[in-house]
Symmetry: C2
Amino acid sequence: MGKQMTEMLKGTLEGIVLALLGLGPAYGYEITARLRDQGFADIAEGTVYALLVRIEQRGLVDVEKVPSEKGPPRKVFTLNAQGREALDEFWSSWGFLADRLAHLKAEGE
Amino acid sequence: MGKQMTEMLKGTLEGIVLALLGLGPAYGYEITARLRDQGFADIAEGTVYALLVRIEQRGLVDVEKVPSEKGPPRKVFTLNAQGREALDEFWSSWGFLADRLAHLKAEGE
DNA sequence: CTCACTACTCAGTGTTACTATCTAGTGGTA
DNA sequence: TACCACTAGATAGTAACACTGAGTAGTGAG
């Protein structure tokens, strides 16, 4: 992936994962796969797991261990009230940034 | 500024500054002021100058020292061909990200 | 002659995504 | 058996970036 995208994902990737969890509970491997489907083809698994550890430690998600038929047990993450609040804040910040950049782009054309 | 916005600006702030320079040459203090006008009220001066040093070292801008009537000489930055290319790449990356997030936001509503 | 404004610089810090590697369970196949 | 592919998660070390907080320096107003 481009270095540019790597830097741009900082802060944003967390919001993306929170948004995915906002659609329903999910586990790490699944989230990684969904990100790939969404076009984020080069996001490393390790990156996602590290991010999930962070949002768990900040209390934004509830965690449940669920056995899997195909491999080790899954850690299923569910967005809780605090997580929803964080997601709202993310959309608010993102909205501001996207709005500013849309203006800038329009000015440059 | 929120920690969230701080992280989200990583990578994006550089694009914003390149976009501002795309509108015409400018010097550091001026760029800082424009950012404040644009709503980025809490971006530290030191942050902008450090960023300008980086894009200068990467050869994205041409630099000229111009005397000022009001204070020390100004370092005026002008976007060159390489800089324009970097700006295009930025808009491309940003476009991808903004598109993905728009989809995600629509799904969550 | 102090203050405010202009203009730039720099060392140190925290956060984040990436790389690379490791552990482990299940099922297929040579 | 031995090996591989897929599933599932963890972690140490690194690079990049924005922030904090401080500093240097020139000009003009009070």
